[in-house]
């Protein structure tokens, strides 16, 4: 089992899937000769040629529109949008076209299409290149949302996403690209809607996504030093959502902290908290806590950015609060 980075895992997966399905096409800005700004598609142009690895002009609407048209006509497509911050430029294509085609055609048109993009702060990229916008797409029926937290999951989930006949938002995190993980030799797929219990615990449930899984695990280790056993759940996909995993954990711990990097207001935490109180009210011993970014654009200044984005301390504090300690 070799250790590879998140970026290598994605690249390997794209390559394998392109070999497996000769119709699979990649499309996006700078994904050809340049290899994508994070290097995910490096070498694929040379291997598969310009018909299957297409660099586009700077037009997010055009990227998504072309990908959608290709997908509807049977060409499985992975479109790359450099930053999730740019998805609003293509919002009509994503929200009104991509998400709805299957439904509006009564199921006659399939949309085998993946939108790969990345989000998150922590790199001083300021307000227009650091957002976490997954909640925008959570509100749009017709889109699946995948948010891998490690190289192993990235591979298994990307394969499932590519082979899915429905549009999938595959949202990566820029701080995860360099992280390493071991990958088994053989092929594996991770089905959507299966959360991963990253750490077992009986005292408090911490539900996290994407890069915040890493932060939550660090927080859980710190809590363990104080005798608090936190259970950390990596949701892996927001749509479909493995609510059963959350429910089962909440029934054991009676306490929940939901952690995401996007701002708290209207975030995924709000949706999960609402569902928990609907389905597990009698199991709660404390109000559901949410840890998320402050409700402001991400500041350029590093100290301010750090203050806005949730960290280990915030998670530890929230866990103790729902445990009525400290």
């Amino acid at each position: 089992m070799p250790e590879i980075t998140f970026v290598e895992s994605l690249r390997m997966t794209l390559k394998e899937e392109m070999e497996r399905d000769p119709s699979l096409m990649l499309i996006g800005e700078d994904i050809g000769r340049y290899g994508g700004i994070f290097g995910v598609t490096k070498g694929l142009l040379e291997e598969f040629g310009p018909h299957r690895v297409r660099s586009t002009p700077i037009s997010e609407s055009a990227i998504i529109g072309s990908a959608l048209g290709a997908a509807m006509t049977g060409i499985r497509t992975v479109a790359e949008l450099m930053y999730i911050d740019f998805t609003p430029v293509a919002m009509d294509q994503i929200v009104n076209q991509t998400a709805k085609m299957s439904y509006m055609s009564g199921g006659k048109a399939k949309v085998p299409m993946v939108i790969r993009t990345q989000e998150g702060g922590g790199r001083g990229n300021a307000a227009q290149h650091s957002q976490c916008l997954e909640a925008l797409f959570l509100h749009i029926p017709g889109l699946k949302i995948v948010m891998p937290s490690n190289p192993y999951d990235a591979r298994g989930l990307l394969k499932t996403a590519i082979r899915d006949d429905n549009p999938v938002m595959f949202i990566e995190h820029k701080l995860l690209y360099a992280t390493k993980g071991s990958i088994p030799d053989g092929e594996y797929l991770i089905p959507f809607g299966q959360a991963d219990i990253k750490r077992k615990g009986k005292d408090v449930t911490i539900v996290a996504i994407s890069y915040m899984v890493t932060v939550a695990l660090k927080a859980a280790a710190r809590l363990a030093e104080e005798g608090i056993e936190a259970e950390v759940i990596d949701l892996r996909t927001l749509v479909p959502l493995d609510f059963d995993a959350i429910l089962q954990s909440v029934r054991n711990t009676n306490r929940v902290v939901i952690v995401h990097e996007g701002c708290r207001t209207g975030g995924i935490g709000a949706e999960i908290a609402a569902q928990i109180q609907e389905e597990a009210f009698d199991y709660l011993d404390a109000p559901v806590a949410r840890v998320g970014a402050l409700n402001v654009p991400i500041p350029y200044s590093e100290p301010l950015e750090n203050a806005v984005i949730p960290d280990e301390d915030d998670i530890v504090r929230a866990a103790k609060k729902v445990l009525y300690r400290g």
Binding site: N254, F281, D282, Y283, L284, D285, A286, Y324
Partner: protein, 399 residues
């Protein structure tokens, strides 16, 4: 034409009233003279009758609100009629009036009546048969957590007491705290917590006063058509003593003490659902006949629920006679803003020593509770022995 219902002024001293209960809902038809709303003042419960016929179009202040007198509280009008505009639900009470604080306090109290427990604590309590109302929560703002319930359940188990299953538990009868009961609860708590009480007792020989009663009772009955009681005579005695001891007839006013010109003696009377204190105004200037007849009139009104604020307001001293219940001695709680109260026990024949001989005498315990901020032990002692002196030698009433 739309009629605006205002908080009525039920007595000279009434500044505000609490809306206890709306007897009609918005949209109900109401006839003039029909009971519309229950109002409580400091002293009594009152059913206010509708001043007009029509539809109760708007309730401006919900039950529980304290509202200054003359504040609009509701609008009665016909269907479709335009309504005058009033600000709803914000009692327009002057800032310096003391009652808003009390209102806030009572609101907070009601707030506390809900038991704060986490959902899983409630569920666990139900499963284990633990009464949440008996637990003290360790969570924020006293929230009962699952740990609190489990701890209580464990305690029940280790102490060998079988946890009672809710179904088998006999239902307790609940009496909601409202009306006179609520006022008594608030005022007595306030008095007992905030007034430094002290008590002096003396055993009084009742033979002479009993003799007086026997001699005059027929005459009183003839004049006032009421039966003279010992309480009536005691009111007269107390009023006379108060005149000599103005400090007992005073009230505490923060940075000053007010010696009251009027001597108004209240008499605690038990009712089926509480008690009232009819006040004999200017008791020092009234004859025994007048006192007896005043007390009887007010009591009758109370039993029919027709008390006015004047009947029970303005007291400067209270007398509580528990003799007829066979009680030997009581230490009463001061009825604020008064500064003293006299508790009288039963009269019973006892052996007493007089001039070296044992004699049988009708004796009764008198206990004076006083507010030590105003009254010192010596002053209270002088007052109480003055009362004793009059009772044992009624001729002093003439002095």
């Amino acid at each position: 034409m739309a009629t605006t219902v205002i908080m009525p002024k039920l007595g000279l001293t009434m500044k505000e009233g609490t809306i206890e209960k709306w007897l009609k809902q918005e949209g109900d038809r109401v006839e003039k003279g029909e009971p519309l709303v229950e109002i409580i003042t400091e002293k009594l419960n009152f059913q206010y009758e509708s001043p007009a016929s029509g539809i109760l179009r708007k309730i401006l202040h919900p039950a529980g609100k304290v509202v200054a007198v003359t504040t609009p509280i509701a609008i009665i009008a016909e269907e479709g009629e335009a309504l005058p505009e009033f600000e709803a639900s914000k009692p327009d009470v002057p800032k310096e009036a003391p009652m808003p604080a009390a209102a806030v306090q009572s609101e907070r109290k009601e707030h506390r009546e809900r038991i704060f427990a986490s959902p899983v604590a409630r569920k666990t309590a139900q499963e284990k048969g633990i009464d949440l109302s008996l637990l003290k929560g360790s969570g924020p703002e006293g929230r009962i957590t699952q740990a609190d319930v489990l701890k209580a359940a464990e305690k029940v188990q280790t102490e060998g007491v079988k946890p009672s299953v809710p179904a088998q538990k006999p239902e307790d009868k609940i009496i909601p705290l409202k009306g006179i009961r609520k006022i008594i609860a608030q005022r007595m708590t306030d008095s007992f917590q905030n007034t430094p009480h002290f008590y002096l007792s003396v055993e009084v020989d009742m033979s002479a006063i009993q003799d007086v009663k026997e001699r005059v009772k027929d005459e009183v009955e003839k004049r006032a058509k009421v039966k003279l009681t010992l309480t009536d005579i005691l009111v007269k005695v107390v009023a006379s003593a108060l005149k000599e001891h103005p400090i007992i007839n005073s009230r505490f006013e923060g940075d000053q003490i007010r010696l009251l010109e009027e001597i108004n003696v209240g008499v605690a009377i038990a009712l089926a659902d509480g008690l009232i204190v009819p006040v004999v105004h200017r008791a020092d200037q009234k004859s025994l006949t007048e006192i007896a007849s005043a007390i009887r009139t007010i009591t009758k009104k109370a039993r029919r629920g027709k008390l006015s604020l004047e009947d029970v307001g303005g007291g400067t001293f209270t007398l509580s006679n528990m003799g007829m219940l066979g009680i030997d001695k009581i230490n009463p709680i001061i009825n604020p803003p008064e500064c003293s109260i006299l508790g009288v026990g039963r009269t019973i024949e006892k052996p007493v020593v007089r001039g070296g001989e044992i004699k049988i005498k009708p004796m009764a315990w008198f206990t004076l509770s006083s507010d030590h901020r105003i009254v010192d032990g010596a002053a209270a002692g002088l007052f109480l022995s003055h009362i004793q002196k009059i009772i044992e030698t009624p001729a002093f009433l003439l002095v």
